[in-house]
Amino acid sequence: MSAERTIADALKAGTLTRCERELLVHLEAAVDNVFTTMLSTVCELVEATSAEACAQEDARLASVAIEAIVEFEGPTAGAVVLRCSPEGAADIARGLLTLGAGDSIELAEVHDALGECANMVTGAFKTRALDPHGAFRLTVPKIDTHVVVQHPHQAGRLVYELAEGSAAVEVWFH
């Protein structure tokens, strides 16, 4: 199913507000731009989730162990978060570094690659969704590894199935 269709279906089903849809369309375009241009891995959008749904437990992401956070500051402040299962994080890292599925990769390399991926997604999202509304600054990526804690101000989430594992890209507002 196309990314546009996934988001449109969620809108039709009444699970996304128009505002959330607009935000997620920009976020999806940013993710697509980065994944298509820089990653040699399969990536399919399988779910577009509203802020309300973000607050509920998502079984698919229960095993999420690694997240890369890039914060933005300007007329409003928030963050773009790339959250991955360990397999998904390694898949993204291998994709960026054009390594084969069987090639070994250090955890530090996975963390760095995930941070750079989040950095590029946030930059592309900033250009599309934030820059028209004023001057924004981005922080350097921060990597965290812990059990998922729901952020109280999530604005939406896109969930992707990768060749190995899964990934979610979220927007938070502080």
Binding site: T37, L97, D112, E116
Partner: protein, 124 residues
């Protein structure tokens, strides 16, 4: 081209740029790396024959804008071209970087072709 210096806090991005340089058939003798502007300035002192710099903008210690400003304190745009390679591709950022002495700008994510086009005028 003598030496190229890649300044980026991400080792992943430094590896990607090195790969793209090879894919784009850009003949360089040697590729040097630095994780921020401070390390970049140290590399310039150690290797005065660096002929081209590709620098990120958003880095800890010394960001890319301060770095290019520092480079221009000792090297002209003609003597040492600096190409910014960054996710921050907004017009205000481009204008600021160019005003501080950058020679060009490549937005991440990038294709090998966009890197080749940006570097072409400076690679002999």
């Amino acid at each position: 081209m003598n030496k190229v210096l890649i300044v980026d806090d991400s080792s992943t991005m430094r590896k990607i740029i090195m790969r793209v340089l090879r894919q784009a058939d850009i003949a360089v003798e040697n590729v040097l790396e630095a994780a921020n502007g401070v390390e970049g300035m140290q590399q310039l002192t150690t290797h005065p024959d660096i002929g081209l710099i590709l620098s990120d903008v958003n880095m800890p210690e010394m960001n890319g804008i301060d770095f290019v400003k520092a480079v221009r304190g000792t090297h002209t745009k003609e003597r040492l071209p600096v190409i910014m390679v960054t996710t921050e591709g907004g017009q205000a950022m481009v204008d600021n970087a160019m005003a501080q002495g950058a020679n060009g700008f490549v937005c991440k994510p990038f294709t090998p072709e966009s890197i080749r086009s940006a570097l072409e005028p400076y690679v002999r």
